[in-house]
Subunit: 268 residues, 4 copies
């Protein structure tokens, strides 16, 4: 039996330590929207450790629509970053300004380019020089074609360390925060051969539906997930409405494993 | 373990003969875009029979963007309709004009309202009088709120025989025919309690990705699929690009069964 | 001096009595969303007469999103229709169901196809047989290409009696009801040579901005306006928020005349 | 007679030398997409001088979708910048990277923030410190609400030197490059009291329609225009398809003056 899920091939796998974004593996990147406090980070680290999750997301500088919203801890996040590294996890964090690259370089394992910076080609050119893997989120207004062209700014030379991330596009439907574009994610994978993961948290903006989307992504033949969690989502300094509780995560992971097992893939 | 997939409940199940659109079942509706010929219909019927699929789609009158395109067989489809009934399948077919209801009434088991007629409230009011189940496709321009309000035109009185169908919305992304809105489908189910199925064929418009979307829908906790197939898609008189081959269907169904099994649901 | 405004030519002019939709004229079609009462109609007729406006819009059957909203007077509107005719005005009214054509035929001078029926090709084919001019609104989800193809359903044979009407498209911006697409209206005129008018009332949905858009349309080189007015907009049974007061109309018309005068066109 | 066009007030006027963005004036900002050569710049300067236009646009660093496209002259544009200043014109130029501010500060009269940087809040915060006026383009994916919140990043403290610029939003319609959103521009003006100008060149992407849109904007009650011109558009290194010829500009300006005259405004 030909497995249609597997007929979409990852041709340019990406490695982060022992974790692989390739055709056989399905990494989870999990963590809070923003790094906030020792207590928050320790609580999440304990859960990720239990669930055998090795990649942690966590925002240090944030781009917030409202100038009076919390803008991230910035360099004050250093002790929290050190905790994450001590726990043996790989940090995935967003770079919002080219002048932050130097600070972040020794600490992050994957640079994240957020949706609102996908068109920031000066930033992309600079990240291409670091040699680190980059998680390139699709702008919520970008066509697949523009997304792949932005990836080309990172792929100059022999480097293939790019992970694409679909996180919802902006459409007329405002009942959910954005519209997850699974179609576009599949097309991007087929056209580029790059690993394509999905951020269901931003894509729908409502934590109660994040597990449904996560399971859909696992069944669809795409390559991983990045998801927001928080020990107390309603107290989160940013994006609380879309952050899963740690209990939701604990219930979701075994179901993901079962779905991945059908197509012979393994979570990592 | 609480199963998040099952936390979205179908509160208003719909029965078509022995087939049930409810929380435990996941019906497949499969067939050609348009009924074309004896040979085409017999070939598809044989495959559906092998796969234990009981609901067949098939267009009789078509709404085509281009006035010179094939507009459906109309009443000339009668012998083909009789074949389908003789084979014991239930026919799901679109009604595009209120004056066709009388002809269709004895032949179809489910009236389909196409995306371009969702706002045709005069048609909806009339269908509500027939007492038959209606598959109400979401207009590609409709908000979830408008879609549910259109369903209310059908649900006047005690009738709950409505199946909602997400078939892709129109967005700025033109790399695929439409954009499948899984978010909107989940929201519609949560807000209405009606069964919500998905049409991946129209939603993406490219047959090679239809199995990926179908598996995603099965894992997401939604309630069924309507899909286009054709024995020779490249010769189809309409929608050939998005019609799966019968072989694709044969390979897909066992994978769907495995995904459904995880959440304790059964295809029917 | 070449006048760029005039470089977009109407190649297929339409006549309604003595009123012409062509390169030299700029007709106004003004009236209520729905015909409601003698008092309402008489009040509007007096104002239109004062302003030398000869085409009146007025809904008889309405397509309303909410099943419990006012659905139009239907055949009870007959006495109001007679008043309009006695006053010497031409009625432009929407046909929402092919079975209403027979009733409307002796009363309307222009059949209006509303945005939600642009894809209702069975209705279009039937209207093409009546020989009357048709005002074809663009679906809020239609590309210009689909709009022109729908016009082709009306233009079979030698008939050229089609007026196109842009009335706003659906986009991610929900601060206004729809998004007026002047670009699309200009493109449709250039590609088809048909007269293209604009409905600023539906396009923005907020009466305070309707005059701004109306003046913009007059300056842009397009071919006319259809606008909603009501003697007491806040008491209107439908679309009150976007209906101008009669005073707004009285203030707007002389400004329109001045703008039209610059390019040598005349209101009619 | 109450003039509806004037009922939308500019409450926070902006001055650039003797040029004023306020309720009585309507500045034009005209120039090439990118500064390319002495010959190009001199040719344009001569035309602007003839037409009494005092603000010139001209890109120095460009954000290009395709990594192999022309990326702007960068600091090599210095001699061209000096020519513009010697000719007595004010330069409006885009800043794409916060590290370019220092270079640009002595040369530009207005910093332009392009559509793809509207969400770049780190850049906005820094520009707010320079004290210079900023032309803030709306992202093609931004709601009016987000656009005004981005303006708030610039308006911290007593500064009101912000000019908003609508340049087209991304919608499903791809027959034109973007969709000019006049509705959104009017709403932004009404809600903020800031001057709102329009860029018809980017909004439609087709030079033959730019004059139509420019006249519409002048009639609509908005506050100015920024437009691309090129002596030989088909040889332009960027955006040639949407750049007007100098002859088109010469024909357009007197028509703009006539339209503005109706509402008692003056071009400057």
């Amino acid at each position: 039996m030909v497995n249609h899920v597997l007929s979409l091939k990852v041709k340019h796998p990406v490695a982060v330590g022992s974790i692989r974004f390739d055709q056989e593996h399905f990494p989870l990147i999990v963590g809070p929207c923003s790094l906030e406090s020792n207590k928050q980070v320790d609580h999440i680290l304990a859960t990720l450790n239990d669930l055998n999750i090795h990649l942690m997301r966590g925002g240090i500088w944030k781009l917030r629509t409202n100038p009076s919203s919390f803008q991230g801890l910035g360099t004050d996040a250093l002790p929290l970053i050190e905790s994450i590294k001590r726990a043996g996890l790989f940090l995935v964090s967003e770079v919002t300004d080219p002048r932050h690259i130097e600070f972040l370089l020794p600490h992050v394992s994957v640079f994240q380019v957020g949706a609102r910076n996908m068109y920031n080609y000066y930033l992309l050119k600079e990240l291409a020089q670091t040699g680190k893997p980059v998680l390139l989120k699709r702008s919520f207004a970008a066509t697949v074609d523009e997304w792949l062209k932005a990836a080309n700014y990172l792929l100059n030379g022999p480097c293939n360390h790019v992970i694409l991330c679909e996180r919802g596009i902006r459409t007329f439907e405002h009942g959910t925060r954005f519209t997850l574009d699974l179609n576009g994610a599949l097309l991007a994978k087929a056209q580029s051969g790059l690993p394509v993961i999905v951020d269901p948290s931003h894509a729908i903006g409502l934590r109660e539906f994040v597990p449904n989307l996560a399971l859909a992504v696992a069944a669809s033949g795409l390559d991983g997930l990045i998801m927001e969690v928080h020990p107390e989502p309603d107290q989160a300094l940013s994006d609380g409405r879309q952050s899963m509780t740690l209990q939701q995560l604990q219930e979701l992971v075994p179901q993901l494993d079962m779905v991945l097992n059908i197509s012979g893939r393994k979570r990592c």
